[in-house]
Protein backbone atom coordinates (compact mmCIF):
# COMPACT_ATOMS: atom_id res chain seq x y z
CA UNK A 1 0.00 0.00 0.00
CA UNK A 2 2.14 2.82 1.32
CA UNK A 3 5.81 2.97 0.43
CA UNK A 4 8.43 3.33 3.13
CA UNK A 5 9.23 6.81 1.82
CA UNK A 6 5.66 8.15 2.11
CA UNK A 7 5.36 6.61 5.53
CA UNK A 8 8.36 8.54 6.84
CA UNK A 9 7.14 11.83 5.38
CA UNK A 10 3.72 11.19 6.88
CA UNK A 11 5.13 10.47 10.34
CA UNK A 12 7.28 13.59 10.19
CA UNK A 13 4.27 15.69 9.21
CA UNK A 14 2.25 14.30 12.10
CA UNK A 15 5.09 14.99 14.51
CA UNK A 16 5.42 18.58 13.34
CA UNK A 17 1.68 19.11 13.87
CA UNK A 18 1.98 17.44 17.28
CA UNK A 19 4.87 19.73 18.20
CA UNK A 20 2.84 22.83 17.33
CA UNK A 21 -0.09 21.65 19.43
CA UNK A 22 2.30 20.66 22.21
CA UNK A 23 3.81 24.17 22.30
CA UNK A 24 0.38 25.82 22.31
CA UNK A 25 -1.15 23.58 24.97
CA UNK A 26 1.87 23.21 27.22
CA UNK A 27 3.72 26.56 27.21
CA UNK A 28 1.13 28.52 29.28
CA UNK A 29 1.22 25.89 32.03
CA UNK A 30 4.98 25.62 31.90
CA UNK A 31 5.27 29.38 32.26
CA UNK A 32 2.94 29.38 35.26
CA UNK A 33 5.00 26.73 37.02
CA UNK A 34 8.29 28.38 36.06
CA UNK A 35 7.15 31.78 37.35
CA UNK A 36 6.00 30.27 40.63
CA UNK A 37 9.58 29.06 41.16
CA UNK A 38 11.12 32.51 40.55
CA UNK A 39 12.07 35.27 42.95
CA UNK A 40 10.42 38.64 42.53
CA UNK A 41 13.55 40.06 40.86
CA UNK A 42 13.83 37.23 38.36
CA UNK A 43 10.12 37.40 37.55
CA UNK A 44 10.60 41.01 36.46
CA UNK A 45 13.56 40.29 34.18
CA UNK A 46 13.34 41.70 30.64
CA UNK A 47 13.57 39.68 28.48
CA UNK A 48 12.18 36.89 30.71
CA UNK A 49 14.33 33.92 31.68
CA UNK A 50 12.64 31.03 29.96
CA UNK A 51 14.29 28.65 32.40
CA UNK A 52 14.43 29.89 36.01
CA UNK A 53 18.09 30.45 36.86
CA UNK A 54 17.79 29.91 40.59
CA UNK A 55 14.53 28.00 41.13
CA UNK A 56 13.22 28.25 44.67
CA UNK A 57 10.21 26.93 46.55
CA UNK A 58 10.13 30.04 48.74
CA UNK A 59 6.81 31.27 47.29
CA UNK A 60 5.16 27.99 48.24
CA UNK A 61 6.73 27.94 51.69
CA UNK A 62 5.47 31.47 52.37
CA UNK A 63 1.90 30.48 51.56
CA UNK A 64 2.05 27.80 54.25
CA UNK A 65 3.84 30.17 56.65
CA UNK A 66 7.12 28.24 56.61
CA UNK A 67 10.61 29.70 56.22
CA UNK A 68 12.53 32.89 56.86
CA UNK A 69 10.40 35.12 59.16
CA UNK A 70 11.83 38.25 57.60
CA UNK A 71 10.77 37.13 54.14
CA UNK A 72 7.30 36.18 55.41
CA UNK A 73 6.90 39.63 56.95
CA UNK A 74 7.98 41.15 53.64
CA UNK A 75 5.44 39.01 51.78
CA UNK A 76 2.73 40.02 54.25
CA UNK A 77 3.51 43.60 53.44
CA UNK A 78 3.70 43.16 49.70
CA UNK A 79 0.72 40.83 49.18
CA UNK A 80 -1.47 40.28 52.25
CA UNK A 81 -3.77 37.96 50.29
CA UNK A 82 -0.98 35.37 50.26
CA UNK A 83 -2.06 34.29 53.72
CA UNK A 84 -5.63 33.73 52.62
CA UNK A 85 -4.54 30.96 50.28
CA UNK A 86 -4.15 28.18 52.85
CA UNK A 87 -7.55 28.71 54.57
CA UNK A 88 -9.07 28.96 51.09
CA UNK A 89 -7.64 25.56 50.17
CA UNK A 90 -9.35 24.06 53.21
CA UNK A 91 -12.64 25.74 52.26
CA UNK A 92 -12.39 24.54 48.66
CA UNK A 93 -11.64 21.02 49.81
CA UNK A 94 -14.59 20.97 52.24
CA UNK A 95 -17.02 22.34 49.67
CA UNK A 96 -15.77 20.03 46.92
CA UNK A 97 -16.01 16.87 49.02
CA UNK A 98 -19.49 17.74 50.32
CA UNK A 99 -20.72 18.42 46.79
CA UNK A 100 -19.24 15.16 45.50
CA UNK A 101 -20.96 13.15 48.24
CA UNK A 102 -24.24 15.04 47.79
CA UNK A 103 -24.10 14.31 44.07
CA UNK A 104 -23.78 10.58 44.67
CA UNK A 105 -26.63 10.60 47.20
CA UNK A 106 -29.01 12.66 45.07
CA UNK A 107 -28.12 11.68 41.52
CA UNK A 108 -27.66 7.92 41.71
CA UNK A 109 -31.18 7.05 42.96
CA UNK A 110 -32.70 9.35 40.36
CA UNK A 111 -30.53 7.94 37.58
CA UNK A 112 -31.36 4.40 38.66
CA UNK A 113 -35.05 5.23 38.53
CA UNK A 114 -34.72 6.53 34.97
CA UNK A 115 -32.79 3.55 33.71
CA UNK A 116 -34.55 0.65 35.45
CA UNK A 117 -38.10 1.37 36.61
CA UNK A 118 -39.75 1.44 33.17
CA UNK A 119 -41.91 4.42 33.95
CA UNK A 120 -43.43 5.74 30.76
CA UNK A 121 -43.23 9.41 29.95
CA UNK A 122 -40.23 9.90 32.25
CA UNK A 123 -38.40 11.67 29.43
CA UNK A 124 -39.94 15.11 30.19
CA UNK A 125 -38.48 15.02 33.72
CA UNK A 126 -35.10 14.11 32.29
CA UNK A 127 -35.42 17.05 29.91
CA UNK A 128 -36.25 19.32 32.88
CA UNK A 129 -33.03 18.19 34.55
CA UNK A 130 -31.12 18.80 31.33
CA UNK A 131 -32.83 22.17 30.84
CA UNK A 132 -31.90 23.33 34.35
CA UNK A 133 -28.29 22.67 33.44
CA UNK A 134 -28.64 24.89 30.41
CA UNK A 135 -29.77 27.88 32.51
CA UNK A 136 -27.01 30.45 32.68
CA UNK A 137 -25.68 30.60 36.28
CA UNK A 138 -25.75 34.40 36.14
CA UNK A 139 -29.54 34.08 36.15
CA UNK A 140 -29.61 31.93 39.30
CA UNK A 141 -26.93 33.79 41.20
CA UNK A 142 -28.90 37.00 41.78
CA UNK A 143 -32.06 35.50 43.36
CA UNK A 144 -29.96 32.86 45.13
CA UNK A 145 -27.83 35.61 46.63
CA UNK A 146 -30.98 37.21 48.06
CA UNK A 147 -32.28 33.81 49.23
CA UNK A 148 -28.98 33.01 50.95
CA UNK A 149 -28.88 36.47 52.51
CA UNK A 150 -32.36 36.00 53.95
CA UNK A 151 -31.38 32.58 55.30
CA UNK A 152 -28.22 34.11 56.83
CA UNK A 153 -26.01 31.75 54.82
CA UNK A 154 -23.91 34.37 53.02
CA UNK A 155 -20.23 33.87 53.80
CA UNK A 156 -20.71 30.23 54.79
CA UNK A 157 -19.55 27.15 52.84
CA UNK A 158 -23.14 25.86 53.00
CA UNK A 159 -24.35 28.46 50.50
CA UNK A 160 -21.71 27.31 48.03
CA UNK A 161 -22.50 23.63 48.59
CA UNK A 162 -26.17 24.27 47.75
CA UNK A 163 -25.28 26.31 44.68
CA UNK A 164 -22.81 23.74 43.37
CA UNK A 165 -25.31 20.92 43.84
CA UNK A 166 -27.62 22.79 41.48
CA UNK A 167 -24.83 23.20 38.96
CA UNK A 168 -23.70 19.58 39.09
CA UNK A 169 -26.58 17.25 40.04
CA UNK A 170 -28.53 17.55 36.73
CA UNK A 171 -25.43 16.62 34.76
CA UNK A 172 -24.68 13.76 37.16
CA UNK A 173 -28.19 12.35 36.71
CA UNK A 174 -27.88 12.67 32.95
CA UNK A 175 -24.50 10.97 32.89
CA UNK A 176 -25.40 8.21 35.35
CA UNK A 177 -28.67 7.24 33.70
CA UNK A 178 -26.80 6.85 30.40
CA UNK A 179 -24.21 4.82 32.28
CA UNK A 180 -26.74 2.56 34.04
CA UNK A 181 -28.36 1.86 30.69
CA UNK A 182 -25.10 0.41 29.41
CA UNK A 183 -24.99 -2.04 32.34
CA UNK A 184 -26.57 -5.41 31.50
CA UNK A 185 -29.93 -5.90 33.22
CA UNK A 186 -29.38 -9.65 33.09
CA UNK A 187 -27.06 -9.61 36.10
CA UNK A 188 -29.73 -7.99 38.25
CA UNK A 189 -32.27 -10.50 36.91
CA UNK A 190 -30.11 -13.43 37.92
CA UNK A 191 -29.60 -11.97 41.40
CA UNK A 192 -33.35 -11.60 41.76
CA UNK A 193 -33.90 -15.16 40.54
CA UNK A 194 -31.40 -16.28 43.17
CA UNK A 195 -33.65 -14.67 45.76
CA UNK A 196 -31.89 -11.39 46.43
CA UNK A 197 -34.05 -8.52 47.66
CA UNK A 198 -33.95 -5.17 45.89
CA UNK A 199 -31.53 -3.75 48.44
CA UNK A 200 -29.24 -6.74 48.19
CA UNK A 201 -29.24 -6.45 44.40
CA UNK A 202 -28.42 -2.78 44.83
CA UNK A 203 -25.56 -3.37 47.24
CA UNK A 204 -23.94 -6.45 45.81
CA UNK A 205 -24.64 -6.17 42.09
CA UNK A 206 -25.34 -2.63 40.97
CA UNK A 207 -23.10 -0.51 43.18
CA UNK A 208 -19.90 -2.53 42.60
CA UNK A 209 -20.62 -2.66 38.86
CA UNK A 210 -21.38 1.05 38.65
CA UNK A 211 -18.26 2.11 40.53
CA UNK A 212 -16.49 3.61 37.48
CA UNK A 213 -19.56 5.69 36.65
CA UNK A 214 -20.04 6.80 40.24
CA UNK A 215 -16.35 7.67 40.58
CA UNK A 216 -16.53 9.72 37.42
CA UNK A 217 -19.58 11.62 38.64
CA UNK A 218 -18.01 12.34 42.04
CA UNK A 219 -14.76 13.54 40.50
CA UNK A 220 -16.45 15.77 37.93
CA UNK A 221 -18.61 17.28 40.69
CA UNK A 222 -15.55 17.88 42.85
CA UNK A 223 -13.63 19.46 39.98
CA UNK A 224 -16.54 21.72 39.04
CA UNK A 225 -16.91 22.91 42.65
CA UNK A 226 -13.19 23.40 43.06
CA UNK A 227 -12.98 25.61 39.97
CA UNK A 228 -16.26 27.56 40.21
CA UNK A 229 -15.91 31.30 40.53
CA UNK A 230 -19.11 33.29 39.95
CA UNK A 231 -21.12 31.96 42.92
CA UNK A 232 -18.00 31.94 45.07
CA UNK A 233 -17.16 35.57 44.43
CA UNK A 234 -20.76 36.65 45.10
CA UNK A 235 -21.45 34.48 48.18
CA UNK A 236 -18.16 34.73 50.06
CA UNK A 237 -16.75 37.73 51.86
CA UNK A 238 -14.09 36.58 54.34
CA UNK A 239 -11.59 33.79 54.87
CA UNK A 240 -14.38 31.89 56.64
CA UNK A 241 -15.72 30.83 53.26
CA UNK A 242 -13.56 32.22 50.43
CA UNK A 243 -12.52 29.49 48.05
CA UNK A 244 -9.23 29.20 46.23
CA UNK A 245 -10.31 30.77 42.90
CA UNK A 246 -11.67 33.82 44.75
CA UNK A 247 -8.44 34.37 46.65
CA UNK A 248 -6.33 33.73 43.56
CA UNK A 249 -8.38 36.21 41.54
CA UNK A 250 -8.20 38.80 44.34
CA UNK A 251 -4.52 39.36 43.53
CA UNK A 252 -5.40 41.15 40.29
CA UNK A 253 -7.37 43.86 42.10
CA UNK A 254 -4.21 45.31 43.54
CA UNK A 255 -2.03 47.65 41.54
CA UNK A 256 1.40 46.15 42.14
CA UNK A 257 2.62 43.20 40.11
CA UNK A 258 2.61 40.01 42.17
CA UNK A 259 2.63 37.42 39.46
CA UNK A 260 5.09 35.26 41.38
CA UNK A 261 2.39 34.72 44.05
CA UNK A 262 -0.45 34.72 41.53
CA UNK A 263 1.21 31.89 39.61
CA UNK A 264 2.03 30.02 42.82
CA UNK A 265 -1.61 30.23 43.87
CA UNK A 266 -2.55 29.26 40.33
CA UNK A 267 -0.45 26.10 40.49
CA UNK A 268 -2.06 25.17 43.82
CA UNK A 269 -5.54 25.82 42.35
CA UNK A 270 -4.90 23.83 39.17
CA UNK A 271 -2.98 20.95 40.76
CA UNK A 272 -5.83 18.95 42.40
CA UNK A 273 -8.05 18.92 39.29
CA UNK A 274 -5.06 18.01 37.16
CA UNK A 275 -4.00 15.15 39.43
CA UNK A 276 -7.57 13.84 39.52
CA UNK A 277 -7.79 14.07 35.73
CA UNK A 278 -4.51 12.22 35.35
CA UNK A 279 -5.27 9.46 37.87
CA UNK A 280 -8.85 8.88 36.79
CA UNK A 281 -8.23 9.65 33.11
CA UNK A 282 -9.97 6.49 31.92
CA UNK A 283 -13.08 6.98 34.05
CA UNK A 284 -13.40 10.63 33.11
CA UNK A 285 -12.86 10.21 29.41
CA UNK A 286 -15.27 7.27 29.43
CA UNK A 287 -17.81 9.27 31.42
CA UNK A 288 -17.55 12.31 29.16
CA UNK A 289 -17.94 10.03 26.18
CA UNK A 290 -21.00 8.35 27.72
CA UNK A 291 -22.48 11.66 28.81
CA UNK A 292 -21.75 13.58 25.64
CA UNK A 293 -21.76 11.02 22.88
CA UNK A 294 -24.54 8.76 24.02
CA UNK A 295 -26.73 11.09 25.82
Amino acid sequence: MMSEHTRIIRTCGLMVAAAIFFLFMFTPVYWMVATSLMTEAEMLAVPPHFIPQAPTLRNYATIFGIGDPEFIAFAQNRAPAVFDIFPAMINSLTVGLCVAVANLLIASPAAYAFSRLNVRRSLPLLMVYLGSRMLPPIMLVVPMFLLMRNLGLIDTPLSLIAAYCILTVPFSIWLLQAYFKTMPVELEDSATIDGATRWQTMRYVILPLARPGLTCVAILAFMASWSEFLFAVVFTKTTASKTLPVVTASFVDTASIQFDYVMTAGVLTALPPFLLALIFQRYIVGGLAAGAVKG
Binding site: P47, L146, I173, A270
Partner: protein
Protein backbone atom coordinates in the same frame (compact mmCIF):
# COMPACT_ATOMS: atom_id res chain seq x y z
CA UNK B 1 -40.06 -11.70 36.43
CA UNK B 2 -38.28 -11.33 33.19
CA UNK B 3 -37.98 -14.36 31.05
CA UNK B 4 -35.51 -14.07 28.29
CA UNK B 5 -34.37 -15.87 25.22
CA UNK B 6 -33.22 -15.10 21.76
CA UNK B 7 -36.76 -14.77 20.50
CA UNK B 8 -40.08 -14.20 22.16
CA UNK B 9 -41.18 -17.76 21.83
CA UNK B 10 -44.74 -18.69 22.77
CA UNK B 11 -43.31 -21.50 24.86
CA UNK B 12 -41.67 -18.97 27.16
CA UNK B 13 -44.61 -16.69 27.41
CA UNK B 14 -47.15 -19.43 27.84
CA UNK B 15 -49.87 -17.56 26.03
CA UNK B 16 -50.94 -16.90 22.43
CA UNK B 17 -47.90 -15.61 20.62
CA UNK B 18 -49.58 -12.77 18.80
CA UNK B 19 -50.96 -10.94 21.80
CA UNK B 20 -47.94 -11.46 23.98
CA UNK B 21 -45.42 -10.49 21.35
CA UNK B 22 -46.49 -6.87 21.27
CA UNK B 23 -45.41 -6.33 24.85
CA UNK B 24 -42.01 -7.89 24.45
CA UNK B 25 -39.24 -5.47 23.80
CA UNK B 26 -35.76 -5.67 22.42
CA UNK B 27 -33.36 -4.95 25.26
CA UNK B 28 -30.02 -3.62 24.14
CA UNK B 29 -27.18 -4.36 26.48
CA UNK B 30 -23.76 -2.75 26.57
CA UNK B 31 -22.45 -4.91 23.76
CA UNK B 32 -24.99 -3.51 21.33
CA UNK B 33 -26.49 -6.98 20.92
CA UNK B 34 -30.24 -7.14 21.26
CA UNK B 35 -32.10 -9.58 23.50
CA UNK B 36 -35.81 -10.12 23.74
CA UNK B 37 -37.15 -9.70 27.26
CA UNK B 38 -40.59 -9.89 28.77
CA UNK B 39 -42.23 -6.63 29.83
CA UNK B 40 -41.28 -5.34 33.26
CA UNK B 41 -43.83 -3.75 35.52
CA UNK B 42 -43.42 0.02 35.67
CA UNK B 43 -42.96 1.29 39.24
CA UNK B 44 -44.12 4.91 39.23
CA UNK B 45 -44.20 5.25 43.02
CA UNK B 46 -40.65 4.11 43.57
CA UNK B 47 -39.62 6.25 40.61
CA UNK B 48 -41.09 9.28 42.31
CA UNK B 49 -39.49 8.46 45.67
CA UNK B 50 -36.05 8.04 44.14
CA UNK B 51 -36.37 11.32 42.28
CA UNK B 52 -37.64 13.30 45.30
CA UNK B 53 -34.29 14.70 46.50
CA UNK B 54 -33.38 15.92 43.04
CA UNK B 55 -36.84 17.41 42.48
CA UNK B 56 -36.73 19.20 45.86
CA UNK B 57 -33.34 20.60 45.00
CA UNK B 58 -34.72 21.90 41.70
CA UNK B 59 -37.82 23.39 43.32
CA UNK B 60 -35.93 25.29 46.04
CA UNK B 61 -32.81 26.36 44.21
CA UNK B 62 -33.95 26.61 40.59
CA UNK B 63 -37.69 27.09 40.27
CA UNK B 64 -37.99 29.48 43.20
CA UNK B 65 -35.05 31.65 42.03
CA UNK B 66 -36.41 31.71 38.47
CA UNK B 67 -39.83 32.96 39.59
CA UNK B 68 -38.38 35.32 42.19
CA UNK B 69 -35.93 36.66 39.64
CA UNK B 70 -38.74 37.34 37.17
CA UNK B 71 -40.78 39.18 39.79
CA UNK B 72 -37.76 41.28 40.77
CA UNK B 73 -37.13 42.15 37.14
CA UNK B 74 -40.56 43.83 37.14
CA UNK B 75 -39.57 46.13 40.01
CA UNK B 76 -37.44 49.13 40.55
CA UNK B 77 -35.10 47.68 43.14
CA UNK B 78 -31.76 49.22 43.94
CA UNK B 79 -30.10 48.11 47.19
CA UNK B 80 -28.66 51.60 47.57
CA UNK B 81 -32.13 53.14 47.48
CA UNK B 82 -34.34 50.54 49.18
CA UNK B 83 -37.06 53.15 49.78
CA UNK B 84 -37.70 53.48 46.04
CA UNK B 85 -38.71 49.83 45.70
CA UNK B 86 -41.83 49.67 43.53
CA UNK B 87 -43.54 47.68 40.79
CA UNK B 88 -42.79 49.10 37.35
CA UNK B 89 -43.97 46.34 35.02
CA UNK B 90 -41.85 45.86 31.93
CA UNK B 91 -40.04 49.19 32.28
CA UNK B 92 -36.68 47.54 33.05
CA UNK B 93 -36.93 45.47 29.88
CA UNK B 94 -38.05 48.42 27.77
CA UNK B 95 -35.23 50.62 29.01
CA UNK B 96 -32.67 47.83 28.49
CA UNK B 97 -33.84 47.02 24.97
CA UNK B 98 -33.76 50.73 24.14
CA UNK B 99 -30.24 51.23 25.48
CA UNK B 100 -27.20 51.29 23.25
CA UNK B 101 -25.20 49.64 26.04
CA UNK B 102 -27.28 46.46 25.76
CA UNK B 103 -26.91 46.16 22.00
CA UNK B 104 -23.18 46.79 22.22
CA UNK B 105 -22.92 44.01 24.80
CA UNK B 106 -25.09 41.72 22.67
CA UNK B 107 -22.77 42.31 19.72
CA UNK B 108 -19.72 41.69 21.88
CA UNK B 109 -21.28 38.48 23.20
CA UNK B 110 -21.99 37.29 19.66
CA UNK B 111 -18.46 38.14 18.55
CA UNK B 112 -16.91 36.36 21.54
CA UNK B 113 -19.19 33.32 21.19
CA UNK B 114 -18.76 32.82 17.46
CA UNK B 115 -15.02 33.46 17.67
CA UNK B 116 -14.29 31.19 20.61
CA UNK B 117 -16.65 28.40 19.51
CA UNK B 118 -15.23 28.33 15.99
CA UNK B 119 -11.63 28.36 17.17
CA UNK B 120 -12.28 25.75 19.87
CA UNK B 121 -14.14 23.32 17.62
CA UNK B 122 -11.83 23.63 14.61
CA UNK B 123 -8.62 23.26 16.61
CA UNK B 124 -10.17 20.65 18.93
CA UNK B 125 -11.26 18.51 15.97
CA UNK B 126 -7.87 18.86 14.27
CA UNK B 127 -6.19 17.81 17.51
CA UNK B 128 -8.53 14.80 17.79
CA UNK B 129 -7.77 13.77 14.20
CA UNK B 130 -4.08 14.06 15.00
CA UNK B 131 -4.38 12.01 18.19
CA UNK B 132 -6.25 9.33 16.25
CA UNK B 133 -3.15 8.69 14.12
CA UNK B 134 -0.17 6.64 15.18
CA UNK B 135 3.09 8.55 15.64
CA UNK B 136 5.88 8.75 18.23
CA UNK B 137 4.86 11.07 21.08
CA UNK B 138 1.12 10.50 20.79
CA UNK B 139 0.79 9.23 24.37
CA UNK B 140 2.64 12.29 25.68
CA UNK B 141 0.43 14.71 23.77
CA UNK B 142 -2.68 12.90 24.99
CA UNK B 143 -1.56 13.31 28.59
CA UNK B 144 -0.59 16.95 28.01
CA UNK B 145 -4.01 17.99 26.74
CA UNK B 146 -5.52 17.00 30.07
CA UNK B 147 -3.69 19.91 31.71
CA UNK B 148 -5.55 22.81 30.03
CA UNK B 149 -8.79 20.88 30.55
CA UNK B 150 -8.17 20.71 34.31
CA UNK B 151 -7.05 24.33 34.67
CA UNK B 152 -9.85 26.32 36.39
CA UNK B 153 -11.08 29.28 34.28
CA UNK B 154 -9.86 31.84 36.82
CA UNK B 155 -6.35 30.41 36.69
CA UNK B 156 -6.61 30.29 32.91
CA UNK B 157 -7.35 34.02 32.90
CA UNK B 158 -4.45 34.76 35.24
CA UNK B 159 -2.00 32.70 33.18
CA UNK B 160 -2.91 34.58 30.01
CA UNK B 161 -2.77 37.90 31.77
CA UNK B 162 0.78 37.11 32.78
CA UNK B 163 1.68 35.80 29.30
CA UNK B 164 0.24 38.93 27.66
CA UNK B 165 1.62 41.41 30.21
CA UNK B 166 2.71 44.64 28.55
CA UNK B 167 5.99 45.05 30.41
CA UNK B 168 7.17 41.56 31.34
CA UNK B 169 5.04 39.21 29.24
CA UNK B 170 6.48 36.10 27.63
CA UNK B 171 4.50 36.58 24.40
CA UNK B 172 5.97 40.05 23.91
CA UNK B 173 9.45 38.69 24.56
CA UNK B 174 9.01 35.87 22.04
CA UNK B 175 7.50 38.12 19.34
CA UNK B 176 10.15 40.81 19.78
CA UNK B 177 12.89 38.16 19.91
CA UNK B 178 11.63 36.65 16.65
CA UNK B 179 11.51 40.08 15.03
CA UNK B 180 7.73 40.05 14.53
CA UNK B 181 7.27 43.10 16.77
CA UNK B 182 9.53 46.10 17.30
CA UNK B 183 8.55 46.77 20.88
CA UNK B 184 6.47 45.32 23.72
CA UNK B 185 2.73 45.80 23.32
CA UNK B 186 0.02 46.05 25.92
CA UNK B 187 -2.35 43.49 24.44
CA UNK B 188 -5.08 43.64 27.05
CA UNK B 189 -5.47 47.41 27.15
CA UNK B 190 -5.65 47.72 23.36
CA UNK B 191 -9.22 47.78 21.99
CA UNK B 192 -8.12 45.82 18.92
CA UNK B 193 -6.35 42.97 20.68
CA UNK B 194 -8.26 42.49 23.95
CA UNK B 195 -11.06 40.45 22.36
CA UNK B 196 -8.78 38.18 20.27
CA UNK B 197 -6.71 37.58 23.42
CA UNK B 198 -9.86 36.61 25.31
CA UNK B 199 -10.92 34.25 22.52
CA UNK B 200 -7.53 32.52 22.41
CA UNK B 201 -7.48 32.11 26.19
CA UNK B 202 -11.00 30.65 26.16
CA UNK B 203 -10.12 28.28 23.32
CA UNK B 204 -6.97 27.10 25.09
CA UNK B 205 -9.09 26.07 28.07
CA UNK B 206 -11.79 24.25 26.09
CA UNK B 207 -9.99 22.62 23.15
CA UNK B 208 -9.16 19.50 25.22
CA UNK B 209 -12.84 18.81 25.96
CA UNK B 210 -13.72 18.98 22.28
CA UNK B 211 -10.75 16.77 21.43
CA UNK B 212 -11.67 14.14 24.00
CA UNK B 213 -15.29 13.91 22.83
CA UNK B 214 -14.40 13.90 19.12
CA UNK B 215 -11.59 11.41 19.68
CA UNK B 216 -14.00 9.05 21.45
CA UNK B 217 -16.27 9.20 18.39
CA UNK B 218 -13.38 8.81 15.94
CA UNK B 219 -12.31 5.60 17.62
CA UNK B 220 -15.65 4.00 16.82
CA UNK B 221 -15.36 4.54 13.04
CA UNK B 222 -15.17 1.06 11.47
CA UNK B 223 -11.96 0.56 9.49
CA UNK B 224 -13.93 -1.22 6.77
CA UNK B 225 -15.46 2.09 5.70
CA UNK B 226 -12.03 3.57 5.02
CA UNK B 227 -10.85 0.38 3.32
CA UNK B 228 -13.86 0.45 1.02
CA UNK B 229 -13.38 4.13 0.24
CA UNK B 230 -9.71 3.54 -0.47
CA UNK B 231 -10.62 0.72 -2.87
CA UNK B 232 -12.88 3.18 -4.65
CA UNK B 233 -9.89 5.48 -5.03
CA UNK B 234 -11.02 8.25 -2.63
CA UNK B 235 -8.22 10.53 -1.46
CA UNK B 236 -7.70 11.76 2.09
CA UNK B 237 -9.97 14.79 1.76
CA UNK B 238 -12.72 12.81 0.05
CA UNK B 239 -12.57 10.14 2.76
CA UNK B 240 -12.76 12.85 5.42
CA UNK B 241 -15.80 14.44 3.76
CA UNK B 242 -17.61 11.20 2.97
CA UNK B 243 -16.91 9.16 6.11
CA UNK B 244 -15.28 11.01 9.00
CA UNK B 245 -17.38 14.16 8.96
CA UNK B 246 -20.79 12.43 8.77
CA UNK B 247 -19.67 9.99 11.46
CA UNK B 248 -18.66 12.90 13.69
CA UNK B 249 -21.73 15.03 13.02
CA UNK B 250 -23.52 13.88 16.17
CA UNK B 251 -20.53 14.58 18.43
CA UNK B 252 -19.85 17.89 16.73
CA UNK B 253 -23.44 18.99 17.26
CA UNK B 254 -23.21 18.07 20.96
CA UNK B 255 -19.91 19.87 21.28
CA UNK B 256 -21.50 22.88 19.57
CA UNK B 257 -24.30 22.87 22.16
CA UNK B 258 -22.02 22.59 25.18
CA UNK B 259 -19.62 25.20 23.83
CA UNK B 260 -22.47 27.63 23.12
CA UNK B 261 -23.68 27.30 26.70
CA UNK B 262 -20.11 27.78 27.93
CA UNK B 263 -19.49 30.83 25.74
CA UNK B 264 -22.74 32.54 26.74
CA UNK B 265 -22.03 32.11 30.46
CA UNK B 266 -18.34 33.02 30.35
CA UNK B 267 -17.59 35.27 33.26
CA UNK B 268 -14.52 34.07 35.18
CA UNK B 269 -11.81 34.77 32.66
CA UNK B 270 -13.33 38.13 31.75
CA UNK B 271 -13.22 39.05 35.45
CA UNK B 272 -9.50 38.40 35.71
CA UNK B 273 -8.32 39.08 32.15
CA UNK B 274 -9.98 42.28 30.95
CA UNK B 275 -12.67 43.28 33.45
CA UNK B 276 -14.92 44.06 30.48
CA UNK B 277 -12.50 46.58 29.07
CA UNK B 278 -10.75 48.43 27.59
CA UNK B 279 -13.74 50.73 27.29
CA UNK B 280 -16.54 48.23 26.84
CA UNK B 281 -14.79 46.17 24.16
CA UNK B 282 -15.08 42.90 26.12
CA UNK B 283 -18.28 43.70 28.03
CA UNK B 284 -20.39 40.64 27.24
CA UNK B 285 -23.95 40.28 28.55
CA UNK B 286 -22.98 38.06 31.49
CA UNK B 287 -20.43 40.64 32.59
CA UNK B 288 -22.90 43.52 32.15
CA UNK B 289 -25.42 41.62 34.30
CA UNK B 290 -22.86 41.08 37.04
CA UNK B 291 -21.71 44.69 37.06
CA UNK B 292 -25.27 46.06 37.01
CA UNK B 293 -26.33 43.82 39.88
CA UNK B 294 -23.38 43.67 42.20
CA UNK B 295 -21.40 46.83 41.44
CA UNK B 296 -24.34 49.20 40.93
CA UNK B 297 -26.63 47.21 43.29
CA UNK B 298 -29.43 47.50 40.71
CA UNK B 299 -31.18 44.17 41.30
CA UNK B 300 -34.26 44.97 39.23
CA UNK B 301 -32.34 45.79 36.08
CA UNK B 302 -29.79 43.06 36.75
CA UNK B 303 -32.54 40.44 36.89
CA UNK B 304 -34.02 41.74 33.66
CA UNK B 305 -30.62 41.28 32.01
CA UNK B 306 -30.38 37.78 33.46
CA UNK B 307 -33.78 36.97 31.99
CA UNK B 308 -32.79 38.22 28.56
CA UNK B 309 -29.67 36.01 28.64
CA UNK B 310 -31.72 33.04 29.78
CA UNK B 311 -34.24 33.58 26.98
CA UNK B 312 -31.43 33.71 24.43
CA UNK B 313 -29.96 30.51 25.84
CA UNK B 314 -33.37 28.88 25.87
CA UNK B 315 -34.01 29.85 22.25
CA UNK B 316 -30.67 28.42 21.17
CA UNK B 317 -31.24 25.26 23.24
CA UNK B 318 -34.62 24.70 21.62
CA UNK B 319 -33.13 25.10 18.15
CA UNK B 320 -30.34 22.68 18.99
CA UNK B 321 -32.58 20.13 20.69
CA UNK B 322 -34.96 20.16 17.75
CA UNK B 323 -32.02 19.59 15.46
CA UNK B 324 -31.00 16.61 17.58
CA UNK B 325 -34.55 15.37 17.86
CA UNK B 326 -35.06 15.51 14.13
CA UNK B 327 -32.00 13.38 13.71
CA UNK B 328 -33.51 10.89 16.12
CA UNK B 329 -30.59 11.09 18.50
CA UNK B 330 -32.52 11.88 21.64
CA UNK B 331 -35.72 9.96 20.98
CA UNK B 332 -35.16 6.59 22.51
Amino acid sequence: MAVKGDFPSPAYAGSPAGRQKAAWRLSRNGLGRGQWVAPREPQPFLFFVLNTPAILLLLVFVLYPIIYSFLLSLHQYNLRQPARFRFIGLDNYISILGSEQFWRAAQTTALFSVGSITLTIVLGTLLALLLNEVFPGRALLRAIILIPWAVPPVVNGLIWQWLLDGRYGLINAVLVGAGVLDEYRSWLTDVNTAMPALIVAQAWNHIPFVSLVVLAALQTVPDELYEAARMDGANVLQRFKAITLPWLSHSLLLVLITQTMVALRTFDIIYVLTGGGPGDSTTVLAWLTYVTTFNFADFGRGNAYAYLIALTTLALSIIYIRLLWKRGELAR
